[in-house]
Amino acid sequence: MTSKTRIRSIPSLDVTVTSKLIQDFIKIRVTEAGAEGVVIGLSGGIDSAVVVTLAAKILGSKNVIPIFLQNINSSEADITDIKALCKKLKLDLIQYNIQGVIDQFAESISETEDSSELAWMNIKPRLLQTYLYFHANKNNYLVCGAGNKSEIMIGYFTKYGDGGVDILPIGDVYKTHVYQLAEYLKLPKSILKKAPSAGLTKGQTDEAEIGMSYTELDSVLYGLEIFQTDEQITELTQIPPSTIKKVRSMIYKSEHKRRGPILFKLGVRTPSMDWRIPLIKPKHI
């Protein structure tokens, strides 16, 4: 896809209504869980910036713990943006340099860190989960994730890393719409204009790694979501069939990441399948 090709964007989000719904969701989940607030891992990117902003708005800055894990691949720009955002939201940032932990882990298994290898790339998100849950348990908080619908649908996250959280307030919001929310929330331009990156390796960008822009990805995902055929998507968006095929393939390959651990049915009612109860314990129990 050349930069000159015009891709039809997905329909705009009603940002006023959606930001209110997301805040209500965060508040209700925290209250019903009997928790005091949320712990959020900040990356310096737009997703966690949107989520932490909405959480701080609805819960108050005292009930939100932002955590940043610094390592050898972290960029100065990210650190600067995170500090500025936390200052603006009156949040007390907790920052750890985890490079020592990673080095110790490497030593314990007699290996050298290779940040280009998947097994090593997943270390930071899984360490992040450990840090987030430590603080969540200490404070009776929930762990709030920042995964968006685009990433989730193609499996662009670490299983039991950044995907291992209690709530995902923007889990059904496409990246295109996250930008719209960010503008509505008046997030700093430095965050808005930054190329999206998982921050797992130096200079990594999401779009280079995924192999297409988020505009393309979201146009395909949206088409598939509303049951359009590949031909209809190509006709409406000018996105070539090969790109649609690639997205479809990513969706199928990552389905295991979107489900809980896979078990199989043996009994009359089976956990996570058909033994269904309310998320929250009713008062009469």
């Binding site: 055929t229 078990l263 199989f264 049915k265 009994g267 009612r269 089976t270 399948m273 058909d274």
Partner: protein
């Protein structure tokens, strides 16, 4: 000359999920095993949704097709013709856009024989069929060179009325294709001989085997004669295959011995219908 005997090949397959290409290949390979016999035709019976796999989830919207004009139907017709056999398989049917059925189809060397749509769509326990399918508003039997044969699908067997209707419509054999997970085995293994005996009709049951997502299909396909005698029984939990022979007139002799249909008074149906609206 009327056909007095026919063979039933129980093709207890493990279907690939949302992969009709692989499944049609399996169906083709199994049909190629069948020895053609001019006097004793063979019906190869595959499980419920054997063309697409049972757990397609939302992919069913892409995989359902008009029957018999759709490409998968045409491939089934080609397989039947090439191997000079009859075959019954399960597949999602698209009637008009957005209206789907869980359907059993029958093809023969002469082409499309008929289809029956599932009536009882389970939406309890692990099942989600009413999310996708419409319940058939009718019960039918098919006119075949082997006489009248009824088809039903899986949970239909839990309702005795379906097989009874097959018998009353003149079928000598009722064929149930199924995708039943293991926890229901005891029910099916009780219903199969019961449906045969209470209606004095041959009863053929063919189940999926193996794992699809988080369900394990128990296999255990079997055939019962019109007197309830077990004619064939396949392995549990894994693909299996067996051919047995049935008579088109065994139903008649069984009816002479136990005349349940002759003794069936019509007022019973009226009572059932009236009480249905009272509950």
């Amino acid at each position: 000359m009327s056909i007095l005997k026919f063979r039933v090949a129980l093709a207890q397959t493990h279907s690939h999920q949302a992969d009709p290409t692989s499944n049609l290949q399996i169906i083709s390979e199994i049909c190629e095993k069948i020895d053609f016999d001019e006097e004793i035709p063979t019906i190869v019976v595959f499980p419920e949704l054997s063309v697409t796999g049972y757990l397609m989830h939302d992919d069913v919207y892409q995989l359902a097709e008009p029957i018999p004009s759709g490409p998968f139907s045409q491939e089934l017709a080609r397989i039947s013709q090439k191997n000079s056999c009859y075959l019954i398989a399960g597949m999602p049917e698209s009637s008009i856009p957005g209206l789907l059925y869980n359907t059993a189809v029958m093809f023969g060397p002469e082409g499309f024989i008929g289809k029956s749509r599932k009536i009882f769509l389970p939406n309890h326990s692990v099942f989600n069929e009413r999310r996708y399918f419409r319940s058939s508003p009718t019960i039918n039997v098919m006119d075949t060179p082997m006489g009248k044969i009824g088809m039903q699908i899986c949970y239909d067997i839990f309702s005795p009325e379906i097989t009874r209707a097959h018998a009353l419509l003149g079928a000598h054999t009722s064929i149930c294709i199924s995708a039943s997970p293991g926890v229901r085995r005891q029910y099916f293994e009780t219903f199969i001989p019961a449906r045969a005996m209470e209606n004095t009709i041959n009863f053929v049951y063919v189940n999926q085997s193996g794992i699809q997502d988080d369900l394990i299909f128990w296999g255990g396909s079997e055939v019962r004669s019109a007197t309830g005698k077990q004619i064939a029984k396949l392995e549990y939990n894994k693909p299996d295959f067996e051919v047995c022979t049935l008579s088109t007139d065994s139903s008649q002799s069984a009816k002479n011995f136990v005349p349940t249909l002759k003794d069936l008074p019509s007022w019973i149906f009226k009572t059932i219908e009236e009480s249905y609206y009272d509950i």
